[in-house]
């Protein structure tokens, strides 16, 4: 049985089963249950359990107990201190009943103070080869962060500051520098001493501004007591000394081993991995995390990092053991899980909750900005990214996304400003120049973009993104030798996919020049090379598609159809779940070749897929417009094509619409559509190849028919120049040359 037919409704199953679903949503959901076998079977299987959740009072009581805050830990000094506090208040009330004044509670503001746990020095073995000090410090941070009332600077953040500022020493001056940079008002410094197998932890809570020791703590380990248990006890002491609100006493305080690891060795390896990860030493980081999970397979955050830097599928293990991660870390795991499930909205929501509680997590802020940008919420992206930069102005990653976010709002000044900042921070990296090239292209500044891309490949000659962009820009400018050099560089890449892409790009050059026979040869060579390398990907399918386009232009429909079929087979074999890819182009070609049934069937499937994914229907409007056009329903075709280009620069639709307008004698409209389209840069132009060149001819002919002779001459000449080396039998080329002669008076 396949999955739910409508996931949006499928997600409401549990809400319905438990009676939580609002009454107004009931009908829609129950009709869905009637129609969706998958959800219906799940509901039937779960019905008994659902009835208990809905009706059983004992289950209700058990749930209520879980939902209530847990009582505080018994027999702790916290209880004793609270009793003393209450007693003190009572004494005051009894002694001075008429002179009471109520002042704002200090406890209410204490939780806004941030605490930095700086270091724990191993007094017994100052070299601390087992990193006991780091282990205790990290465990203490994790344990304190479980509270909603303690704002503790993360270990990650402290490491970033220490690395950036070179603060490796464990002296008071360094400690203060770290705490100040982290924005902490209080810091904790401690010592570890081990004598006769008894471990003693001591801590000092210090006011950062004055250096005064506010409180001190001491915990002496019992025989057999683990480091984790000692940290649990120290946490209780520290929390008591932080003067937290009374509500904090009612919080559940899990054992730190339950939200990290029960193995000291595993946890030490994990810390090693974290340190290497923060310095971008990927190999060492993988080693550290792998050693950690060898010792403790339930160390969720070790799996989380391995999923990011080694194998994405390892995220499953992090999710499986998520209850063994701290409160902060659970947000990160759930967010990444949502990203892997393709639910960026949910990923965003998780991180929004994370940063609301842990506002100094710069990586969370950066990712949040990135997800918002991908979701098209550029303004939110800018807000989050700026916050990340405020925390650390030398954090370069946000500047890249910030530039794109500003570009998304057409605020190019700020986009360029942001990317230039990135370049200043990383002048030896190709990526910022590449990004700047893209932003210039978004503004239509082709020459500025070229310059920026050239700078990128000067730093890294094989930087694929820039090489590709340069090839396409040179093709647009008709600098074919330079374009060929870039595409050949791609065919020499170390990556198969880029080599395959380079081979199809090489085919665009002769297509653009009207050298169709040469283009077929280049594409056949590319297909052969793909086969030799065992490559079958999107670019392989694209080679067959381009061949089909050329063969159709050469008046060979059967051969064109055969190539299209190969293209389609490859595409669906490799990408069975692809929503659009170039299926709309395929529909157009099929319609043009008279294969209406197939074209309509694919167009309908495309529409259904787009609707299911709640995506724009522009590709469908184009596909359907192409079908209507091929069937001679011009009015309907025009309606669909206009919809396709209404809020996107859909180049295939633009070309087809301009052709329709020309054929209907609506020349001024054709000119109005084609002129801006042909002047501006568009990545589509290289892919359209033949149609792009023909669009020049259409524009020339439209201007000609409109009586704009001088402009028509210029455009005809441009078209003839583009196809000057074209195959002799090209009809439009012959017509353009003849017409030029007439318009210039060369031919009577």
């Amino acid at each position: 049985m396949s999955g739910c037919v409508d996931k949006r409704l499928g997600n409401k199953l549990y809400a319905w089963e438990t009676g939580i679903l609002p009454e107004g949503d009931r009908e829609e959901f129950e009709v869905h249950l009637l129609e969706c076998d998958y959800c219906n079977q799940r509901a039937q299987k779960f019905q008994s359990a659902a009835k208990h959740i809905q009706r059983d009072r004992q289950v209700h009581e058990a749930v209520a107990a879980l939902a209530e805050p847990a009582p505080q830990r018994p027999a702790s000094s916290t209880l004793f201190r609270s009793i003393l506090a209450v007693a003190a208040v009572l004494v005051i009330l009894l002694l001075k009943p008429w002179q009471l004044t109520f002042e704002p509670s200090h406890e209410a503001t204490a939780s806004e103070d941030r605490l930095a746990v700086i270091h724990f020095a191993n007094l017994t073995d100052p070299d601390d080869p087992e990193r006991l000090g780091d282990v205790i410090k990290s465990l203490l941070i994790t344990d304190l962060a479980q509270s909603h009332y303690v704002r503790v600077v993360s270990n990650r953040r402290l490491q970033e500051i220490a690395d950036r500022k070179g603060l490796a020493n464990k002296d008071d001056i360094t400690a203060t520098a770290l705490a100040v940079t982290a924005g902490a008002q209080r810091m904790l410094i401690g010592d570890i001493a081990v004598e006769d197998s008894v471990t003693v932890l001591t801590g000092r809570l210090i006011d950062v501004a004055t250096g005064d020791v506010l409180e001190s703590q001491r915990v002496t380990g019992a025989a057999g007591e683990s480091v984790f248990e000692l940290v649990d006890r120290l946490t209780v002491e520290v929390r008591a000394d932080l003067a937290l609100p009374l509500e904090a006493l009612e919080e559940t305080d899990p054992r730190v081993a339950d939200v990290t690891s029960h193995s000291t060795e595993a946890y030490r390896h994990y810390l090693d991995g974290l340190e290497s990860y923060s310095r971008m030493y990927t190999t060492e980081a993988v080693l550290g995390f792998e050693r950690a999970v060898e010792k403790d397979t339930t160390l969720a955050m070790a799996w989380y990092y391995l999923a990011q830097i080694k194998a994405p599928q390892l995220l499953e293990k992090a999710v499986k053991h998520i209850d063994r991660a701290g409160r902060r870390d659970q947000f990160f795991i759930r967010s990444l899980q949502a990203v892997r499930e393709g639910n960026l909205t949910l990923a965003r929501e998780e991180l929004e909750q994370a940063v609301s509680q842990f506002p100094e997590e710069r990586q969370a802020l950066y990712r949040l900005g990135s997800y918002c940008n991908q979701l098209g919420d550029h303004e939110a992206a800018i807000t989050w990214l700026n916050q990340a930069i405020e925390i650390d102005s030398l954090y370069k990653d946000p500047y890249n996304i910030l530039a794109y976010a500003h570009s998304g709002l057409n605020d190019y000044d700020n986009a360029i400003r942001a990317i230039n900042h990135y370049i200043a921070l990383a002048p030896d990296e190709a990526n910022p120049y590449d990004s700047r090239g893209e932003i210039y292209l978004n503004q239509g500044k082709v020459d500025s973009a070229l310059q920026s891309y050239e700078q990128a490949i000067a730093i890294r000659p094989a930087f694929a993104s820039s090489v590709r962009a340069l090839g396409n820009l040179y093709l647009f400018k008709r600098q074919y030798a330079e374009a060929e050099e870039m595409y050949r560089r791609m065919t020499g890449s170390g990556q198969k996919r880029i080599r395959s892409e380079g081979r199809v790009q090489l085919g665009y050059i002769p297509v653009h020049q009207g050298r169709f026979n040469d283009a077929l040869g280049v594409l056949d060579d590319g297909i052969g090379a793909d086969r030799l390398e065992g490559v079958e990907d999107w670019y392989t399918a694209l080679k067959h598609y381009q061949k089909a386009v050329i063969l159709k232009a050469q008046g060979k429909p059967d051969q064109a159809l055969a190539e299209l079929e190969i293209c389609r087979e490859i595409h669906f074999r490799r990408f069975p779940t692809a929503v659009v890819s170039f299926q709309h182009m395929y529909v157009s070609m099929m319609a043009d070749l008279g294969q209406m049934d197939i074209a309509t069937s694919i167009a309908d499937s495309l529409k259904a897929a787009l609707e299911e994914h709640q995506a724009d229907l522009n590709p469908y409007w184009y596909a359907h417009g192409a079908i209507e056009y091929a069937q001679g329903n011009y009015e309907q075709a025009e309606t669909e094509l206009v919809r396709a280009i209404a809020d996107s620069d859909d180049a295939p639709a633009t070309y087809l619409l301009s052709r329709l307008l020309f054929e209907q004698g609506r020349y001024s409209y054709a000119v109005a559509l084609l002129e801006p389209w042909l002047e501006e840069w568009s990545g589509w132009q290289r892919m359209l190849g033949i149609q792009y060149a023909r669009a020049h001819y259409l524009l020339a002919a439209s201007l000609d028919q409109s009586g704009r002779t001088d402009e028509a001459i210029a455009r005809y000449q441009q078209f003839v120049d583009i196809w000057s080396e074209g195959d002799a039998e090209l009809i439009e080329l012959t017509a353009a040359v003849e017409r030029l002669g007439v318009l210039r008076g060369d031919v009577p």
Binding site: Y14, I20, L34, E35, R55, I322
Partner: protein
């Protein structure tokens, strides 16, 4: 094959399809009716009335939407009629809750109850909001109020519940295996 597909074939006179259609319909209707009518015998009566009405009329009716939507509305009207007939002073949209144990025909299964509670306890470590949401619901808060209290969006609320359900299913199956 889904219910609308069975309907299309049954309408042409296919007896086997008709039988499958009404079997599926009855099973689904029981799910819906028992959600709102906690007396299983009364729920079954309402289901049978609805199925009978549908079997008498389905061949002759032209639907504006679909067979499934029409059939659902037939059942919904029967449930609302039942609620009115019971003469209780409740809003039509409220569930019909049995107020005395003597009216209950459903009896809890102690074993399933124990396993459920154990699973809730296990889940609470990684998803404490699940228990809070259920508890707020038991106290009468609406979905909107719950989302507002817990600062959750609609989207996240349902996804979170969906994940909790999956975790609960897995936990119950593991407990089942251990039995």
């Amino acid at each position: 094959m889904n219910i609308n597909e069975f309907y299309n074939i049954a309408r042409e006179g296919d007896r086997a399809a008709e039988s499958s259609l009404f079997r599926q319909l009855t099973v689904s209707f029981r799910l819906f009716a028992q959600q709102r009518i906690w007396n299983d015998q009364d729920a079954e009566e309402v289901v049978q009335e609805a199925v009978l009405t549908i079997s008498e009329r389905y061949r002759d009716i032209t639907f504006e939407t679909s067979f499934s939507a029409w059939a659902y509305r037939v059942l919904n009207h029967k449930i609302l009629d039942y609620i009115k007939r019971k003469g209780r002073r409740q809003k039509l949209i409220e569930q019909v809750r049995q107020e005395t144990d003597t009216e209950l025909t459903w009896q809890p299964d102690p074993d399933l109850r124990a396993r459920l509670i154990e699973c809730f306890q296990k889940m609470n470590g990684s998803n404490p909001r699940h228990a809070r949401i259920l508890n707020l619901h038991y106290q009468g808060f609406t979905t909107g109020e719950i989302c507002s209290r817990l600062k959750l969006t609609d989207n996240y609320f349902y996804v979170m519940l969906s994940r909790a359900r999956t975790a609960l299913e897995v936990c119950l199956e593991e407990e089942d295996t251990k039995q």
